[in-house]
């Protein structure tokens, strides 16, 4: 990805990074509440897919293959988080 492209996408990247930062922070703040942590895990996974769909739709390059990539990455992330949270 070129620098120019990166800065072009920056207005979309910043909210995404913000969502992940808030998600991580919520994990720390609610470290004693497993149900809430499970909710956060689902929320960030859904946010990742949603962000991808909106971002690529706005850039007119949304395709099935790209959608699938976001879904699968989110599924891997969610599975990893749940596998640990459910054992806490």
């Amino acid at each position: 990805m070129s620098k120019r492209k990166f800065f072009q996408h920056l207005p979309h990247y910043l909210p995404l990074v913000g969502i992940y930062f808030v998600g991580t922070l919520a994990f720390v703040l609610f470290s004693y509440d497993r149900q809430f942590q499970i909710g956060i895990a689902f929320a960030v996974a859904v946010a990742h897919v949603t962000w991808g769909l909106i971002h690529h739709y706005l850039h007119h390059d949304l395709s099935f293959e790209i959608m699938l990539e976001y879904f699968v990455i989110s599924a891997v992330g969610l599975t990893v988080l749940l596998s640990v949270i459910l054992r806490t």
Binding site: M1, Y20, E65, I66, S83, V84, R87
Partner: protein
Amino acid sequence: MKLAHAIGHIFVPRTSNNHKAKIIQSSGLLLLLTLYLSFQFAIQLFSNPNVGVLGYAANISPTEVVRLTNEKRLEAGVGSLQYSDVLSEAAHQKGEDMLEHDYWAHVSPSGVEPWSFFVNVGYKYRYAGENLARDFTNPQAAVDAWMASATHKENLLSPKYQDIGVAVVEGDLGGADATIIVQLFGTKADSVASTISVASAQTLNNEQTPSPSPEPVVEKPAVESDSSLVPTSVPSPSEVESPFNVARVMSLITVIVLMVVFIADIIIIKRKNVVRPSSRIFAHISFLGMIIAILLIVKAGSIL
């Protein structure tokens, strides 16, 4: 040579994989997900108490739970609690009841409330409270978790309590090995301590039901803990072998490998100046970065 080619095909963008490492293609990720789920299933299977391969015991000392509780109280300027072996017996009964009836709650599925265990052992309370914790690998982590929760902290630091009882029980809960800490707080109905007036708004007796809260064990005079009154913990083998730690290490390895491959992908694709339709790698790296951060933060154990 063939092995090197196969590894390159899986992890490095090149012509053979259409300039995208196989492991970060949708098909590769689906395969990875399947393998990961199989591994998780294996952990679950081997951590089953009946199989007993990954079973573990945490090193939780009730004495230490009491000491740490009183330490927190002293830091907060509240008097330390007196260890009560009667309350510890009540805590032990509560823990055994949870294992026997397979529940993780203040009130059992059949409606037995925490306070009935106080009554069972003949502790007539004016005030009573309960804190629960499970699957912590050390007492400090459990007490820290209680302190991080407003309701549990309120119990732990409440000046209306004078006695404490703690029990640690281990067994099968919900199909998995569990180490449960039961912490009971109480003030006897006939005691007229100065602390009672502080919480005058909540005068309770055995007819009134106090609100459940987290509970560790009480200790004798807090500072000079009498170890003979407190059950000693079973030394335990390995935190490393706990299902939680195995899952966490495996998860970290998986996510870090994916992240490295994504970063390598950005660098190599840019160098080779390859143009291809793809999702945003930066978004995936941010997502995986968050997961790594959470995996490093998350701790074993939950409280109630």
